[in-house]
Symmetry: D3
């Protein structure tokens, strides 16, 4: 079953969805492995038309849904290799990979692929958690370290974080040392970021950046988050002003929200992102 309106053949597509149903390093409450399939099946509860952008996914976008990777639980290094390979395949075909998590660690696979192909890559990162630990109980390939691993690749000043409202003292010190640029709690400074030419950007959205009242379906909920309308406006701005070469939505854990509204929100957000993506060529 494809995501609603994502019925374009691979060759004709501008963007390609693929799922990484993986949550093997999750330290608190697992369940994000069911995110991608929930997003697909529940997408039939939303419309393909967006009144926000006045565009229709079935008519105004060319999206292919490549299904889910089969990833080995208990072997994060091999899972990341598979994710990197898939993202590389899509990028090499001149398309935008759209990765659905799974836990946040999966981002690392796609970032590795993108960084190799876009030397000036930057990351725009929405999240409640800093994810900047050097290691977690000795494990370096952990969801809690994913942005630190991205920093290992990209270096200082290339990662912009928004909405962060949880972390250790060490993580906040790391931010304040300028290794990454972080706006805690909100994303108001995003609009003032500007560049002569739109740089290549990897956009990663940990959906727990949203307030848990609007998005309870995630493993580690942090009160005091962003509202959907605010996040949507920020993301549309990112797509309008930057060259988003790949993006992901991660950390939806459907069964933690029996009402189903978290999955419905994730579907709607993905529709908006796909419609906001710049058409290739």
């Amino acid at each position: 079953m494809d995501f609603i309106g994502a019925d374009c053949a691979f060759d004709a597509a501008d963007a390609v969805i693929f799922g990484a149903p993986y949550d093997s390093t999750t330290s608190f409450r697992p369940g994000t492995r069911f995110g991608p399939s929930a997003v697909r099946s529940e997408s039939f509860g939303i419309e393909t038309y967006s009144p926000y952008q006045r565009k229709d996914l079935a008519e105004d976008a060319r999206v292919h849904d490549a299904g889910d990777l089969e990833l080995p639980f208990g072997a994060p290094d091999r899972a990341l290799e598979a994710i990197e390979a898939k993202a590389a395949e899509i990028l090499d075909a001149g398309k935008v990979p759209v990765l659905l998590g799974g836990e946040h660690l999966v981002t690392l696979g796609a970032v590795r692929a993108a960084a190799k192909r876009f030397p000036g890559l930057r990351i725009i990162h929405f999240d409640a958690h800093a994810d900047l630990r050097e290691d977690y109980l000795g494990v370096r390939l952990s969801h809690a370290c994913v942005m630190r691993r991205c920093h290992d690749i990209l270096g200082d000043g290339r990662i912009w974080q928004f909405g962060i409202r949880s972390g250790t003292r060490d993580e906040f010190a790391f931010m304040e040392s300028g290794h990454v640029k972080t706006e805690p709690f909100s994303a108001e400074t995003l609009s003032s970021l500007s560049f002569p030419e739109a740089p290549p950007v990897y956009l990663t959205v940990d959906l727990d950046v949203l307030d848990p009242s609007e998005f309870p379906g995630t493993g580690t909920q942090e009160a005091g988050g962003m509202r959907f309308a605010d996040l949507l406006a920020r993301l549309l701005d990112v797509f309008a002003r930057f060259n988003v070469v790949a993006f992901d939505n991660v950390e939806l854990s459907p069964s933690l929200d029996p009402s189903g509204r978290s999955t419905a929100l994730a579907c709607k957000l993905l529709r908006e992102e796909l419609l906001a993506l710049r058409r290739r060529g």
Copy 2:
């Protein structure tokens, strides 16, 4: 069991509650049939007194609760006939029908009764969804078409929609052609509607107009909705400035919200509506 404070005899009442526990055409997740009974039984968790209006349902309003209709699942035409008959009986007694859904289709029965008795009838419609389809999988008596069927009766310019944030391209084109007046996403223009004399109004509140964080207990949740405080203020304004001759609250699906707060909110909103209703004669 009556709704709390609704213990007036029929003859002495200004308003008469009746339930239409029907969800036979629901296309996504059913369950609204349990709305009316949940509202009654959970109403004992709220007070009869409103600090918003400084009035008490047990002392300052005269409301009768007529219980639920028994409606045949799988036969929408006959269900609507039964709803129309009940609403007609109440209207003919000079009282205000207060219809509790059930799916939104039930509104059509009550609107039919009201339109026959109030020639200049207008509809004020709060909803996340336009409900303006000509048909749904070939079915014209569907929740997804209910406002289109109302438009069939009332004609152009008589339906005002607020809060709409989902629909097909065709539905939005229908709005933009002026058949109905729609403010998408919000209800700010409502306060500027004014008339020399208060016209007769049928008020229909699809509770999914609220943000799913505040009202998750509904089948098709749309992120980015109205807040309770805003909706309450708008509704009090409607009751103050218009001649509401009948109204309904629909699409509560209690079991989708295990916390029970959606039902509690529906109880509180109904209390406020009943207190805001103009006294007859």
Copy 3:
């Protein structure tokens, strides 16, 4: 997504699964519309191999999964036409239709198709409820009447019911008048049914025949039901001794069982039925 192991092309298949996600006439708690998709997605939690029959679905059976019909809620007559048409198409290709409900009413569509093609058709019916009402609140196309409608087609003595433990006094009188043959509460007499030549049989399994402890995921639960091991043994006997020309499993309502074991059981039972089916030609 196909049912696990059901990856045979239509032309090469002996059996063809199709879903009828319909619950529009359900009188108590709806939700069976999500049965077919749940069975497919959760089937990946079971193995293709059966230690009961020592056969493997991927190697020892030829099954095609034709997906779900799109059925109009609120229009039972049209839904039944679509089901009949699909079953007819499969039967006319010399294959066995395997219908996944949905509510029990969907059986009627498939029985209509089978009865036209197999003049001596009999029905073997496992259920907690008699489903023999003449009408339900005036509606004749209701889940509560489905076996009565089948009796309208087949006539007396052609329907054998097992496990029935709920019904009205009128329904039990109808049984006792010999219109249908019913063993209430259990299925012990099934093994004594025998025929010189295996007659064509439509097998319909309302999963609520099982005890609610083993199968809580259904809308109208009746304590005192059959155990899985007993039901499985009875069904294997049916497939061994009769010519099952079509069969269905109905009334799984996944969301009523948060543990998911009802869906898991339904997957396992379907695997066993598919493996027990006689190979064509």
Copy 4:
């Protein structure tokens, strides 16, 4: 809303249902206060006809439903007084009180009323727990002490317990000293109890005597319990051979069983009990 089929006027009734929605002394997981209302509202999911007894509640029994008592939480002595008064009123009218709990403590109120009116009263007690503590954290009016309080009234040899499979060493010593007669784990000796004349019996059924697989909706679940079919047979035997002057079903906690089958079972069991009750006069 009355229990299904219990629509007889008080004066004409043989049996009178009343609810005691009380769980103030519950030591583990509360929630039984919602038992009586759940039994009433869910009773519309069962039939009035019993194929077990071939009788119909609407035709073959005369039952009045007196609704629920309003009981003060935090004041067990006053709650018991209210229960005793209600049971006394029913007994004095020559009718059988049918008490729906609530926690097991409520039984004490009804036993007090019955013991005053039937000097030779015996208690038949089905339960997973002995409920024979002298006190619980110093509180003597506790659900954990209810049968000990009954023993205070009736004295040795008048209480017969079945199905008990949990208790302290002291409670089992109390049984073994002969103060009460207890068959642990099962109820096989019940059929051998016999008397020249049917003595007056108060029957109390703590529904957790059932196996938690069949009846999960109770606060303190004990694996290894009785099956519904066995319990039903035992109860029908009690009603057939003894003069049941009052009875109760207690400890249903609906929200602990999201599938709803515990409430459905409680409804069915109550139907059978009401049909099995001897007609007065």
Copy 5:
């Protein structure tokens, strides 16, 4: 298991957490007895570091966790005595008692202890409900009366209420007569309260003051509540400007919120309160 970071020995601590897992007088939906244990076990899902205050619970505060009291259900007077004794022991050691409920009645025990030791004690009270009834069904020691009982001790003008949005006409009349100072719906006037010297304050936070969208895990949910960010800011202001000698957080009922975010919020709020508390000596 201690609350995260609360690993200081009693003698060295500035603040001492203790739980009162009691909900015996709860009139609607019980369950707050599980609040304290849920807060402890789920606290491991948050960090000890606060980016709001830039302090770390493990390094910048000295907190002891004394575990839970064992309280007798069904005997509110004795439960309150135990709570008062524990609070007194902590106060007499020169430390701040931090009481975790349980229902709101438990506050009375701690207020009794504080009032005896701080003659000029004032109460700052956040709540959705006034809790000012003289009695509830004749019971004076009820959660619905707790602030009235506190008023019995402190007298007029010493209790300041914020966020109240539910009560009877009598309760609102009591406020308006000046016995207590109440800002309904919000807490904007709090910042204008000022004193030459910081008076001793007992702070009681009924968590249902929050909007049910952010905090659904409570028994009696009232739409239209405060937001987490606003409440946090108000509380930090209280700790900054007043001499908080004891405080409590009550009415978390974990099982009403299957997503777990209410408990997560309660953990985070407690961390912030503990970090905001003035260091002793």
Copy 6:
């Protein structure tokens, strides 16, 4: 918080409980990481006294609860090392390790420790699943391979499996080749196993060997399982006739069973096992 009655100091104990809250290789639905803490906190809902064995955990057994290991998610090899080290420490002190899972993989750590110390070690294995795969998606340290890894250590004929009712064709072929001794579906042959001297036995109980009706709280539910009473009798027989040198209970996933009865059963089973264990010295 210790398991109820397990309040013996380490040095004085005969048995030592420790938890391995790990589910990193779980291939279907994770959640067993919460098993150990749920068993501890819910153990206060059962009694310490067993009417089955007429012994009391607080008086007749000497059990220490060592709490939970902190295990790194995403690094199964290191997790197993930690488990082996803990089991070795307990064995070297002459005590019986009692391991609470977590997923079934954790067993391997404890078996490694036991096999090194007891050369003739045998394994008695209750499970619904064979767990005999050579690898799972290329991962050899997976829950689906755990008994195969144990076979790597112990060799042919030393593992006895009971209750197995799911596996691949290859796994059943492996059994039938005599590498392990398997009784599928049940455990009737267990009583006929006998030895001149009681050999050292590692007992591993995957709780999904139970029927899902009695134990729904596990990730991969297989209909047709054992009943609690049968399993208990078998286990008491194992403890009576063999020298159990270590044992485990694994695969409880509490959140899959909202009724809580799976955890309650796991507590009760553990109590019985601890009471059945032979006293050391």
